[in-house]
């Protein structure tokens, strides 16, 4: 399946996961820009205390507040929020107990990190709780505060545990303030309002991890959204030479003659180097094709994003967002 679907357009919470380093933060940011295009307001959220969004948008660290970080083409805007579990816990406790200034001291002592160590699920419950609050918040006009929320989520290895609030709650007290709100979180995450997108590279291991994650999401009754195939390189060799080239068969004489006809005279070593590079390229393209076939087993809408040779800066994010809009994201 290719491109974005209407069903995905109806989601209000877009969770972006993937193997570490595949481009979750980059894709989440580009997706937020794409969704904001044309005048919508989108919130981009991170939860791992890494300030990845600030770095990507070339800004000082984000405070625990929703701040505008970019405007999108057509009058839209993207705001960003770095949820800090400690601040979320204090915010939470403050609603029920007046901790006041003691809260800060406890935080300095590491007491809060400690409480979340006691019950690792607590951290996740607090983070997803904050995300849910943002998704559900309404303005006085009755309209949702955000048209969409994009979450730069933990990597595939941890994402199901992260989203499985029901299980986390089992670790916690049977009653109590957090339990109350969690029911709303569970409802949101398992509804059609939420889509869990996967970022993959066209390499065997990341693709296998993606397939495993899809199975895990299905098993946990969470809804896989689209697969973002990131860092795709253009195939350069003609399709008919590809298989032979990947097996090391490139006609060096023909290459030399071709170069000569373009006015390039090169020595044997250079031809050999060029041929070696072409063989490596062909091997990689073939491996990518196999990875793509494997990925098709997931049977999810897929969207390709190009490899950007100069790396990812703010301008590049707009470029990627444009690609996504071109593939139907809205």
């Amino acid at each position: 399946m290719n491109g974005w679907t209407d069903e995905l357009s109806r989601a209000r919470l877009h969770v972006v996961t993937g193997k570490g380093g595949t481009g979750k933060t980059t894709v989440a940011a580009a997706l937020a820009l794409a969704l904001a295009t044309g005048g919508r307001r989108v919130l981009l959220v991170e939860v791992e205390n890494r300030q990845g969004i600030a770095r990507l948008f070339d800004r000082p660290p984000l405070p625990y507040a929703e701040e505008r970080i970019a405007s999108a083409p057509g009058g839209g805007e993207v705001r960003a929020l770095a949820v800090d579990p400690e601040a979320a816990l204090l915010e939470y406790l403050d609603m029920f107990y007046n901790l006041g200034f003691a809260g800060r001291t406890l935080r300095r002592m590491g007491a809060i990190e400690f409480a979340t160590t006691l019950a690792p699920g607590l951290r996740d419950v607090l983070l997803t709780g904050k995300v849910k609050e943002c998704v559900r918040r309404v303005r006085p006009t009755g309209r949702h505060e955000y048209d969409a929320v994009v979450l730069d989520a933990p990597p595939t290895g941890r994402v199901v545990r992260f989203l499985d609030v029901t299980r986390a709650m089992a670790e916690l007290a049977k009653a109590g303030p957090i339990r109350g709100q969690s029911e709303g979180v569970v409802k949101l995450l398992h509804s059609g309002d939420t889509a869990v997108h996967l970022v993959a590279l066209l390499e065997e291991m990341p693709v296998r991890e993606t397939l495993d994650a899809v199975a895990e999401l299905d098993a946990a009754d969470l809804r896989p959204g689209a697969v973002f195939v990131n860092r795709v390189n253009p195939p350069r060799l003609p399709e008919r030479s590809l298989v032979a080239a990947a097996q090391g068969r490139v006609d060096a004489e023909r290459v030399r003659a071709g170069l000569a006809s373009a006015g390039l005279e090169v020595d044997d070593d250079a031809v050999e180097g060029l041929v070696d590079q072409a063989v490596e390229h062909a091997m990689r393209v073939r491996a990518e094709q196999r990875a793509k076939e494997l990925l098709a087993e997931a049977d999810l809408p897929s969207l390709e994003l190009p490899e950007l040779t100069d790396g990812v800066d703010v301008a590049a994010l707009y470029e990627l967002a444009e690609v996504l809009v071109g593939r139907g994201v809205r």
Binding site: G20, R50, Y97, A111, L118, A119, M205, R236, S261, L274
Partner: protein, 373 residues
């Protein structure tokens, strides 16, 4: 550029421990395995401690299951001049063994059955790093190998390897646990005075959230652990000292990408602040240019050929070349920036192989590239 001489490093009998660090997915496990294979083939008696290796890589070293013990690598086509053992870390088992070693039988059983122990020993971030250090200490202590090559856990940041044990100690140390679970009895009165009444409220709040049972388990656990905790800490300290000793070297593995190199920089600075010996940087998965031909000329020629449509193969080969030059230039620029910031750090680039590395030949190939062959 200061080139890292890997063969000299591997051949030097004074090299006793090599630790491969780096941020997630850069190639730590592959590098560790390739170094160990090469060292063994050059005559060392080496053992490699791998952490979460890909299944096929593990199989290529003859490791089928996680049994937490080094096994001699006996696979077809591998007759090293020296010898090679390999193992995969089982963090839970290593932790259990530590408990058995430090607590009496009854107490150990009590600890292992505690639900809070289950949490700490399986899902606390930091346990894997701590146990990797513990295992490293054990391997060195056994004195059966003249070279121990260590892989480090897949974490976000290489710094975790140095920091995590400290984090775990802080938790196990238990001052807070004791205050939370039994504030009336615990020491720590000083802190409580500072925090004042807020602490009582906080305790109440936390226990309404996580539940009294969990706090009770945690408290029992810490009390049971108390007697052996001194032993824990001593061991961690001994391993730390080992990491600081002259026979140890850290190899930082990084991709030639801004994030990975930034992490590598932090790590290099940290090692120097800790007086830990840095051996060098492995820039993994680079794309060196194999033909001396300017990219602009190649592009122009490809344009001409495409327009005429005469030589599609040559045109494609030239495009591949131009792409490759662009990537290689960027990698060189990024590595040069790293070298400017850390001029004393020896460096070696390992090209990206066009296929995954999961067998002995692949590891040998990486080894050759590491050695600059």
């Amino acid at each position: 550029m200061n080139r890292l001489d890997v063969d000299a490093l591997l051949d030097d009998p004074a090299t006793r421990v090599l630790v491969c660090c780096g941020s997630g997915g850069v190639g730590k496990t592959t590098t560790a395995a390739a170094l160990a294979v090469r060292a063994a083939e050059r005559g060392r008696h080496a053992v490699v401690l791998t952490i979460d290796p890909a299944r096929r890589l593990a199989q290529s070293l003859g490791l089928r299951e996680l049994d937490n013990q080094p096994r001699e690598v006996r696979v077809e086509g591998f007759q090293p001049k020296g010898g090679l053992h390999a193992m995969m870390l089982d963090m839970r088992r290593t932790f259990d063994d530590m408990v058995w070693a430090h607590a009496g039988r009854e107490r150990a059983e009590q600890i292992l059955a505690n639900p809070f122990y289950q949490t700490i020993s399986t899902s606390f971030s930091g346990t894997q790093e701590y146990m990797a250090m513990e295992k490293l200490g054990q391997l060195v202590g056994r004195d059966e190998w003249d070279l121990v090559v260590v892989d480090t856990p897949p974490s976000r940041s290489a710094l975790d390897f140095l920091d995590a044990p400290q984090r775990l100690s802080t938790v196990l140390d238990g001052k807070l646990i004791r205050m939370l679970s039994a504030p009336a009895r615990a020491g720590g009165r000083g802190i409580r005075k500072i925090v004042g009444a807020g602490f009582g409220l906080f305790t109440k709040a936390v226990s309404t959230i996580v539940g009294g049972q969990l706090l009770q388990d945690a408290s029992t656990f810490v009390q049971a652990l108390d007697s052996m905790f001194g032993g824990f800490r001593q061991r961690a300290q001994a391993t730390y000292d080992l990491l600081r000793s002259p026979g140890t070297g850290f190899l930082v593995v990084a991709a030639a990408e801004p994030d990975a190199l930034r992490e590598a920089s932090y790590f290099v600075e940290r090692l120097s602040a800790e007086d830990m010996p840095l051996t060098g940087l492995v820039a993994n998965r680079t794309h060196p240019v194999l033909a001396p031909l300017a990219a602009s000329g190649a592009q122009a020629a490809a344009d001409r050929l495409e327009r005429s449509g005469d030589a599609p193969l040559a045109a494609a080969v030239l495009r591949v070349h131009a792409d490759r030059v662009a990537v290689a230039d960027r990698e060189k620029r990024l590595l040069a920036r790293f070298t400017r910031a850390h001029p004393g750090v020896p460096l070696v680039g390992v090209p990206a192989l066009p296929v995954d590395v999961h067998d002995l030949d692949g590891l040998r190939e990486i080894g050759r590239r590491l050695a600059g062959e």
